[in-house]
């Protein structure tokens, strides 16, 4: 497995593979990899001849008051993890390699990006769409793998790929959870022992919503209200949002439908965590 820092090196490797007729699977990440990322790399490994993982904490998708500086990084551990899963290439650029002086282009979307996380993180999805477009153009993969924990991001990337005609298959993979239910996230590392316990309110609340759906509840508002009440029982938790939205358009819905996304963002102390369930 190679670790490269430049766009040129990625292209050289991928062009060689493509000339040999090999397919390329791509897993874009911000590093500090966990089993959630691992499931994406494994799936990419199964479905492609070559696997590229990018590790890049993308400044453009962080707001001015967010955790860009403190976002956890451990390239050595990440490299070993990727190698153990059979990745062929890690692309780990410096910000200057991705955003040269005078950088001023962006990719964005007039729907999907405004609801849910887009409300509290207004520049976030523009940063995501732009960096993913760049990475797609650099890596030129046949397939790209994203986690369903970031369900809105996944919907946005799928829509972007369709709108802008990227010749890439986008594959979503299920949320991977800790044994006690907490969705795996690089940001879980911010949690104190006490907060780590409190953070279980997210997965427990997702489970509550899921159970109401499975019991046949058709009123989306009732589900959301029950979920909000449940989160409010946890003193360390502060709701950013809990919402039921159309699974494709991300627009809020009143009546349960398929596909539907029930998603939440909740602060545990200063750490903003997300979780969701997809009903389809």
């Amino acid at each position: 497995m190679k670790v490269v820092k430049t766009i040129k090196e990625v292209r050289e490797n991928v062009n060689t593979w493509k000339k040999e007729g090999q397919t390329v699977g791509f897993v874009p990440t911000m590093g500090y990899l966990h089993e959630g990322h691992g499931s994406l790399i494994k799936k990419a490994r199964e479905e492609n001849d070559k696997v590229v993982v990018s590790i890049f904490v993308n400044p453009m998708q962080f707001g001015p008051t967010e955790d860009l500086e403190s976002y956890p990084r451990d390239l050595e551990k990440d490299s070993k993890f990727c190698e153990s899963l059979g990745a062929d290439l890690i692309f780990n650029p410096e910000p200057e390699e991705m955003y040269k002086d005078g950088f001023s282009s962006y990719v964005d979307m007039s729907v999907l990006t405004e609801e849910l996380c887009g409300l509290s993180r207004p520049v976030h999805f523009r940063g995501v769409c732009t960096v993913v477009s760049k990475l797609f153009n650099i890596v030129n993969p046949d397939r790209a793998y994203f986690g369903q924990k970031d369900a809105q991001q996944l919907a946005i990337i799928k829509h972007m790929v369709q709108d802008l005609n990227f010749d890439i298959e986008v594959i979503g993979c299920p949320i991977v959870r800790e044994e006690d239910g907490l969705a795996k996230s690089s940001r879980n590392t911010y949690l104190s022992a006490e907060e780590r316990k409190a953070a279980l309110i997210l997965s427990r609340t997702v489970k509550l919503g899921r159970e109401m759906l499975e019991a046949g509840e058709t009123d989306a508002d009732k589900i959301v209200e029950a979920m909000k009440k449940n989160i409010e029982t946890e003193p360390l938790a502060r709701i950013d949002y809990v919402k039921a939205v159309d699974g494709l358009t991300m627009q809020q819905i009143k009546k349960v439908q398929k596909p539907m996304l029930v998603a939440m963002a909740v602060y545990i102390g200063k750490t903003r965590l997300i979780d969701n369930t997809i009903w389809d």
Copy 2:
């Protein structure tokens, strides 16, 4: 030469060529082709194994009061012209093939797009960047050819390709003029006989600016003022803008420099025409 209407057919053709190791040159156009387009197709023919021409009047780059409906179209004549120049494939999609229901992504730029034509055509360059990104992803060319008549567009596309890491070489080709100097344009067809004569004020004024530069004038404002005065001698002409800008950033400059773009947009009757000279 094939003429195809679907993205799928373009991909099938290009993928076959790429597997054979053939290079692809691409000339994106809005059709109603003239010798200006011809020069791009010829250059693409010289430099690549295969040549793709797209003919698509892109609704997204027209403002609500602009000439989308009346923009001239003649696919049969265009096809013969492309074939005579050795093109291999024309891509002539319907708007519905390019913009499916729910289309909502866009590519844009926070600089370059605001000056010159961007001032009087505020949505224009977003439409251009978006459709060119789409066409690049559909055609997957090695090289793409644009005319220097649309100098700002050329600068924007070059910048976008660099920012978003399209693996495509963008090549600008000189303005092609009628014998009397008028820059070739599909919109020249709108001109009445009287307007056609009046339209010579553009190329004559560009020539005047060029002569001042060659004579060593260093004050950009003086050149622009002399050009404006010259245009005002033509009763059928109404200035949209005449400006001297940095050749890369499109920002207005006071002192002559290289590279510099001296560009104008002038209405002749209801027809908006552009012309320019590049000083480098």
